[in-house]
Amino acid sequence: MASIKHKNTKRIEGLDKNVWVAFTSVAADPSIVNLGQGYPDIPPPSYVKEGLAQAAMVDRLNQYTRGFGHPTLVKALSKVYGKVYDRQLDPFKEILVTVGGYGSLFSTMQALVEEGDEVIIIEPFFDCYVPMVKMAGGKPVLIPLRLKGSSGTASSVSSADWVLDQEELASKFNSKTKAIIINTPNNPIGKVSRSELQAIADLCIKHDTLCISDEVYEWLVYKGHEHVKIATLPGMWDRTITIGSAGKTFSVTGWKLGWSIGPEHLIKHLQTVMQNSLYTCPTPLQEAVGQGLLRDFELMGKPDCYFTSLALELEGKRDRMAAMLRQTGMTPVVPEGGYFMIADVTALNQDLSHMGDDEPYDYKFVKWMIKEKKLASIPVTAFVGEDSVKQFEKYIRLCFIKQESTLDAAEAILKSWNKD
């Protein structure tokens, strides 16, 4: 009996579909080499696991802690980021701990976006930004990164070759623009924004707009590139929420802890959402992340700091993956940061007309590759709006934060690609 009262609320109308629902279960088949969903299959650092084991043994740490963030953790965050931002961060007023970077994005949207607000989102974007803006009643305004003419050869493209058109960006801002969301390093392309940040900052200041800066991959930046926090540019601290993630920092995505850092007058609104949605995050996990951060704080700048050593480890995997994809005939976009790589499959000329024409090419390619090659990836058009599908439908996204045996298995598949 379908009671109309059992229907969904307006705020979630149309938000039930999700790319992960489609692809995660498929890739769970152990015979498939999974380079799809973004999580490591390498273990987290041992001191982080040990920290959790120790925390779980303390009675008090199995009970509720401070709602806006466990004291050990917020104090550690204020230390680490105080150094990075080169400013005093109030652990209780300028930091909020959330359920992953995802939870920070949600708290930010719910706190600061409402009907009548426009939010600028750069394509390709981590897919949750659009539904979250919509759920908050806002209107997403999209602008794509565009591949500029590359000075390198056709087989050597970098995420730095994907840029924003400045005039196009400026045209997206108007009096209704509440915020712009930026993600650096970017998922899925891996672009690390630097020079563009000033232009974005200028527009935010000119139009009195907020900036939501998703920096969950901030430590994963490769040689020759530098992560810059837009909140440190003049005039930006007061209008920026910066989001970080323990899951990405310590390779513990299953801990689901993240944080928002910003000025008190903005963070307090995120705190209001937090206290009315889930109130507090798990205690022992926060204690362990706090202890891990304190340990790495002492080593910051040194090679055995996990923030540095992980990036070094991943650079090797990045280069290995790019080489294997090139060998097959794909054109990888070598990322400056993050742990994803997109690759152009045009040159493979794979005929997929037998799969119908109701889906973009990359969706079909990914499904075909899972079935025929037992290799899982994610279609990049999942990260763009309808108008940009044509621009991105020849790209697939692969995750390279995988152990060597997984990469070996992927390599074996890619090497024998043309032998069928």
Binding site: M1, S3, K5, H6, N8, T9, I12, L15, D16, N18, T24, Y39, P40, D41, I42, P43, K49, L52, A53, A56, M57, D59, R60, L61, N62, Q63, Y64, T65, R66, G67, G100, Y102, G103, Q110, A111, L112, E114, A136, G137, D208, L210, D238, R239, V252, T253, G254, W255, K256, L266, H269, T272, V273, Q275, N276, S277, L278, T280, C281, P282, T283
Partner: protein, 391 residues
């Protein structure tokens, strides 16, 4: 920035009693019988399960299934199917959340639109009202009241007036929230009380949100009844549970919502657009805990059997202590709390309309180590003996 920044949905919901009082308790090093959490440890089998989980393969530290870790939803379905008396589908009828708190949030966000009315029974766990507000709904209150005759010494003596309750239902009523065992009163609704509520829900086609986080904590042989198990109610009830309260591990923040797929799917949509996943290792540990309890259910070994016995004594002890200093405790039939004196003022649990009637009652949490209860007793005795400075 010059413009107004915050969204309207958070207006009027920024104040929170726990934030204030937890800070005060910490500042003054008070013996804390305020906020509801145990000061003893979770049972060893569950702590061990957690340690074991975090030493297992890499997958325990990475994302699990968004709507609930498979091991957990499977055992929850098995466990509660046996209690509710119907086949519960682990993948369709259950959503795991970050504590029962987030399950409540998903429920209100999924089902309450602007203009919808939600009936809330007072006294209520304080978050129901701001959550209804944030979803754009209107809270309609109906108070539990002590029956006028007889000694008012048990939570069982606090009842709803059937006529008053019926009068609160209107064509705009979307849902009613009940909490049994109730926080702060400790009332455990009898089957016939739930029957009365169920009849109104069916008559007015209203959803029942049943917060049952204290379901295992009932005393003096009182039976917890699930409203979802009454005829006509499974298809219109969202039942909320908590691993934190079940296993005395409030800091793990693992909870769930259970109900018919056609309603749960909307909660899942909210969940996937707000937190998406819950922490993996804690879910695995809770799953192991429930499997163990499934195997020993109804026996002396069961934690669900032992914990209420353990707390029964603490409840009586606190009641005696309050009586001896001249206060009138209301003995709870269930839950963690007793109304009497000293920590969280109970008027926070009432609507502005009814607050004045309940200002002289205060709530006490007795789920504490004996040493904590002893310390509280000492303070109260000194106070009543006039030895403490009067403020």
């Amino acid at each position: 920035m010059s413009r107004k920044l915050h969204a309207r949905r958070i207006e009027g919901i920024d104040k929170n009693i726990w934030v204030e009082l937890t800070q005060l308790a910490a500042d003054y090093k008070a013996v804390n019988l305020g906020q509801g959490f145990p000061d003893f440890s979770p049972p060893s089998f569950v702590q061990e399960a957690f340690c074991k989980a975090l030493n297992e393969g890499f997958s325990m530290h990475q994302y699990t299934r968004a709507f609930g870790h498979p091991n957990l939803v499977k055992i929850l379905a098995k466990f509660f199917s046996r209690i509710v008396g119907r086949e519960i589908d682990p993948m369709e009828d259950i959503l795991v959340s970050v504590g029962a708190y987030q399950a409540l949030f998903c429920t209100f966000q999924a089902l309450i639109d602007e203009g919808d009315e939600v009936i809330i029974v007072e006294p209520f766990f304080d978050c129901y009202q701001p959550m209804v507000m944030m979803a754009g709904g209107t809270a309609i209150y109906v108070p539990l009241k002590p029956v006028c005759c007889g000694p008012v010494l048990s939570s069982a003596d606090w009842v709803l007036s059937p006529e008053e309750l019926a009068s609160k239902f209107s064509p705009r009523t979307k849902a009613i929230v009940i909490n049994t065992p109730n926080n702060p009163l400790g009332k455990v609704y009898k089957r016939k009380e739930l029957q009365m509520i169920a009849e109104l829900c069916i008559k007015h086609d209203v959803i029942c949100i049943s917060d049952e986080v204290y379901e295992w904590l009932t005393y003096d042989g009182t039976k917890h009844v699930k409203i979802a198990s009454l005829p006509g109610m499974w298809e219109r009830t969202v039942t909320i549970g908590s691993a934190g309260k079940t296993f005395s591990a409030t800091g793990w923040k693992v909870g769930w919502a259970m109900g018919s797929e056609h309603i749960l799917k909307h909660l899942k949509t909210v969940h996937q657009n707000s937190v998406y996943h819950c922490a993996t290792a804690a879910q695995e540990a809770v799953a192991v805990g429930f499997q163990r309890e499934y195997d020993v259910f109804g026996t002396e070994e069961s934690y669900f059997h032992q914990l209420p016995i353990h707390l029964h004594e603490k409840r009586l002890r606190l009641a005696d202590c309050l009586k001896s200093v001249g206060l009138k405790p209301i003995l709870p039939q269930g839950g963690y709390f007793m109304i009497g004196l000293a920590t969280i003022p109970v008027s926070a649990f009432y609507s502005p309309e009814h607050r004045n009637e309940f200002q002289k009652y205060i709530r006490f949490c007795f789920v504490k180590e004996d040493s904590t209860l002893q310390a509280a007793e000492d303070i109260l005795r000194q106070w009543s003996d006039g030895k403490l400075k009067k403020f």
